[in-house]
Amino acid sequence: MTPRPSRVVGLDAEPALATISLTWDSLGFDPLIDHYRVYAVPGESALAEPEESSLLGKTVYPRFTHAGLDPEGETWTYTVLAVTDAGERGEPSEQVVGASRPSVTATGTALATIGDFDGRTLEHHLAPASYAQIPTEHPDRVVEYVDGTDEPGTAWPYLLPGPGDAWAGGTAYRARWTLALEAVPTEDHDLALWLVDTTRLGGVLRVGANGEHIADLELPAGATRGSREGDATVPGSPLRRAFLELRVPAALLQAGQNVIELELAEGGWVAWDALGLFARE
């Protein structure tokens, strides 16, 4: 009686850090699509017919983020099909192979970290929802954190506010992370800044080391929920994780004390998952 949905076409897999982003062409609204079903098997393997045991997820949107992948990088084979309002299933799409990019958190050697790279803000100070205390505890709008002395649960607020946050005074906050290196680095290092969520405003996170500017990182628009919820790994969580990793030139670092500076120059807060400085192996 009701038509079978068309076959999904245009399936594409974009590699990213610890994630693979799938997109395909929308099938429109007639018949109304209840949801798309995304099937995946590890590696470059052929899916004969998608089996329910390999159902990765369902989504109403013509896109799906396969998140939480091993930071070392993973390869998967995907296929997608549509289900209509009447429960009719369409033919599976062509198969597409995707691979995630490895993270420095897996390929490098950690020299200093704040928090665990686990998709949660929960180990940080004031998490998951007591953000209102941040402006009170940091009247000068600066967060100081000393590696080896401070602990995330007492000294690293889970949010770094920005000018878009009226509750925090509508100004740019800075975090100063002091850490010691045993010797002058001979090779470039990598900085991993993992976020559990950002605000709908997005923004700019200004990164520097020892007074020298390194980069202005564009913050993606997020779900604006990480101020109240702390675990992005809960199934169906609306939190939008972001993985920012960048090179820190060896010339900017020195033996002994170093200061990594993070300033939320534009936009709204970031909710921290973890931060780390990594040496290349």
Partner: protein, 516 residues
Amino acid sequence: MPTTAARAPFSRRRLLQLSGASAAVIALGIDARAAHAAPPPEAEGMFSLGVASGAPRPDGAVLWTRLAPEPLADDGHGGMPAQEVMVRWEVATDEGFRGIVAHGRALAQPALAHAVHPRVEGLEPGTEHYYRFRVGRELSPVGRFRTLPAAGAQAESFSFGLVSCQAWYHGHFTAHRHLAAEEDLDLVVFVGDYIYEYGITETNLRRQGAEVGAAHRVEIETLEQYRLRYALFKSDPHLQAVHARAAAVAVWDDHEVQNDYAGPLSDTGIGEEDFAHRIAVAYRAFYENMPLDVAALPEGPETDITAGFDVGALARFSLLDSRQFRDPEPADAVEQHREDRTILGAAQEEWVGERLAGSEAIWNVLANGVVLVPITEDRTDMWDGFPAARRRLLAQMAEASNPVMLTGDIHRHVAAEIPADPDDPEAGRLGVELVCTSVASDGDGAVTDGYTEDWIQHDYVKLYDGRRGYVHVRLTPDEMVSSFHIVEWIEADDTAPKQLTARFTTPAGEPRLIPA
């Protein structure tokens, strides 16, 4: 948006605009006299989601049910097979169904989650009716509705209940239990947040004795999830009792789709093109689960839930959509105060203006999702975020006699006299706004809370109560009596007695709330 004050009962033009297949689906879900279907499945408990009626007229109403022998089946299809099922209905003027005055058939189809929306016509005006459905040998519970008085007739009175914000997981629907027991009840007006989209987890499940499966623990996005969420909320016996008790009309607020969404825009950064898919399934599920006319059946992410009807010469109701056409949250005060900023959209502004200007009714009742009277500048999700649009609506309301706004959203009972000019305290009042508290959202609640001062700082706010409940309103040619009922608790169980926390009289021609 309808361009005329009266909506055509069954818009053939609209049906013809749809594709052939879709039109057939809809038509059969409304009237299936000539259709044939396979024998019904042997399942029992087809009517586990109850019955409802709505879209009342002097000559009839829309009847509703959704077949669901397993209402909480994860796929949202209620345990129904992927086949069509014939549903018979009958309407009588007596509870024993000895005097059947109308009957018909509708086809329950998988594409509409086996919901049917037959429109009954040809009934006597101003008359109590009883209805029921039958599938195979199984009979549904009996529902009641009263046809509206004949056009222009001078009705002696008309009573309705006002409810909103049914966060099922925050507590029991005790308010509905009491509303269903009201002896004087011609209509129930739902003013938004009939469902909530949030995942139901141990952190927000405050309804003691309730448990939900894994399928309910995530924020809903797909059609099957929205269908399942309606099924969960509608499985409540007290909500079913309210629907069976009287005809219902409904406007929505944000949670029928997503918290604080605005027009095509998500509040959580989902791209506009993507979000259209979620709006489309959310709007569809709203239609499937409410006793609505076919005009509310969406085409993709667009639909029309505005509706208007007259209660004889006593009252004219206009139901507004304050979500679908609104401008985004303002970035700053300049944008907030822009003259062209709108919450209803241009077409709906024109429509409601025509309905108010052309009305000869004594009472002109509007219903919408968010509070109209000024409270604070930062409440930008309410009409406070749309001051220019509010001035335009107030000017339109001033053209009609005895305007009344019905609202929900805030989980508090509030009664307010509407300032004629929010910028001029000396300008007097032009009407009355009745804001019903939540049925369940926010759990037990308390009389006062941290927001009380924001509201009662205004001399035109006459009541603030943060407990759960409903409002009962009785209109007569001489006065409107609004009774604000509360229950002391809802989290532990559904046994709390109802209490009257305030009652006001509004004399016709005098836009005041006089304690009664």
